[in-house]
């Protein structure tokens, strides 16, 4: 992490660029969701829009985490804490996959699970 005055001045410049980048990507997210010309996939919201939206959000979030939160040069212990949490967070988010084990709701829709 930056500690000397020169390094900090350099870092401030980087923060400005990253801030601008975050603004730009927010506008992109908005345009992709609202402008027909940038509507990927089918007309209206569908899984393609979901993937694009989440991908942009994930990119923005990683910029914030890496640069603003200094994760780009942090000590190992922080990585362990953060990655551990991230792992469990992702596991929580993916828990919905268990719902597909329900043979009544998904009979025939999910052949590899549904026959259980």
């Amino acid at each position: 992490m930056a500690n000397s005055p020169e390094e900090i001045k350099k870092a401030v410049k980087l923060y400005t660029y990253i801030g601008a980048l975050l603004f730009v990507f927010t506008v992109i997210t908005y345009l992709v969701a609202t402008q027909p010309i940038l509507d990927f996939g089918g007309h209206g919201f569908d899984y393609v829009d979901a993937i694009i939206g989440i991908a942009i959000a994930a990119f923005k979030a990683s910029l914030v985490a890496l640069i603003f939160m200094h994760l780009n040069h942090e000590k190992k212990s922080i990585y362990w804490i953060f990655l551990g949490a991230l792992f469990f967070g992702v596991v929580l988010i993916l828990l919905f996959a268990f719902a597909f084990l329900d043979p009544i709701t998904f009979e025939g829709m999910m052949p590899e699970f549904g026959k259980g």
């Binding site: 908005y30 985490a65 939160m69 953060f82 949490a85 988010i93």
Partner: protein, 571 residues
Amino acid sequence: MEIPYIVNPRKDTGLNNSKIAIWLFLASEVMLFGGLFSSYIFLRIFADYPWPERALPVLPGLVNTFILIASSVTVVFAWAALKLGNWKKFVGYMSFTIVCAGVFMVFKGIEYYHKFHHHAVQTTEFTTVEGHLHKESAPDEHGHTHGGNLFVLQTNEIKFALASYYMPYLDEILKRNGDHEIKFKDNYIVTRVNGDKYQEEIIAKAGDVVTPEQLKVVLAEAKEYYISARTHNQKVRTEALRLAWTKIRTAIKSKDAGDYNELVGLNQYDDAMKVAVAKLHTKLIKENATGILLNDADSLVVALDGTTIKLDPEWGRFGQGDPKNTKEGTKTSLKLKDSTVLSGVAGDSGIEIDVDAIDFRHLVMKAEERDLDVDVEIEKSPILHIKGEGGDKIRKLWATHKVWRDLFTAHLTEKYGEDEEGQPNRVPTEVDLYRVTWKQMVAYERLDYKVESWDDVENNAPTLIEGFSGANHKAFPGVFPNVIIPREQIRFESAFSPKMNNYYAIYFTITGLHGLHVIGGALVLGYYLFFGYGMFKSNPEWLANRVEVGGLFWHFVDLVWIFVFPIFYLM
């Protein structure tokens, strides 16, 4: 007291303690919000109603995203200023950050305010109309206004559910009944239990006139008897059941099981065994019938002489399903939440609403489930058969919308072509097809209900600013049809509050929790700003560390919003 490793790193972790602590905290926060987003996915995948896709006005969310990003940048600037020993710059950047937090909460507040003052009414046929409740009635004695939304019932009869009647409801009904006569409609007979002796007694005699006070006493008494009769009967039944099991078990154990020979070798979980026990149990109860209180009637009925009673619609709902009850102004019944049933003649108690959206998606979904013709079902919707000016306008709007959606469907096919099988590459969404939005209503009005091209609507719709917080009734007076929807046709009514549906429940949970984080973060950062100068003079490194740690939390708040914005506002 000297706190160790506040500024200097510990040898084993290589970090100061505050940093480890904040990261541990953020780790738990990641999992908290992860769990909430997981429940969002669950709710969305398994929603049994059309998900309110892209339903929120985007501008407040977008502006708030910019605000949070800007504040995230300034909070690192503030930290850098401290590292360089520049107090003035720190104050500037930190103040900006806190102002950002304030502005963020103001926009959030505007958004919430409009949600809580916007209503949706769903008819029994699953048509939804949204809008503003028209009348703000004078406040009642509790200071509540009901916004043209009260049950009015000329009550002839009240049936109290003894186990569950709720005193405040009863008080309210009695108060509104005033001096009108209250009469018991049926006898309420109880049986006194005295050792092995049972003695019948009438505590409420049909035709007896009572005062409200007497009624309350009798109700309390009847409730007590009802509960003791139930407890007693339960005991007797349990004993009979126990006896039945014992008899059958003993019979099976004996060398010749007699009537129960066929049960030998079975265990207590087998159906044949259960059937045999149930049979014997019933027989035993009959044999010992003297031990049972059979008259445990669970309700007490009183007759009124047709008092008009107005009640809060939150208290219950009008009876449905009975063909006699389908029309307003005929005999109907009102079931309160405590299972008290009021019968009588419904008064003019429909919900008066200025409609700013008409949504047939739920109706379409139900029709498709039953394999019915969607367009025929829509035409049957009561919303399209309301009499009067408002009803005419709704019919006009829907007719215009059908013209527009055909033009739009044709436009999509023309622009994006068809695949090899002749299916269009792009088709309109359910929202395009079956929902008339407030922006479309404004456009149709401006076009005098004559749509000639698909982009007529887009070109005449209100601007983003005009629609900042959703349907704008002030800027477009007279556009939104005013109708009264009879109470019997209403399946559900709610403001856009968490009670509305799972979407709004999870929306308020996640954005509300995020809002609390914004307030908390602003308080901590504000503390450094307003009370940090002393520490800046004595130990600037320590203050810089504190601001860094506070800043880490602030970035996390921004990070959560980066996901909230697309997921709730754009998907």
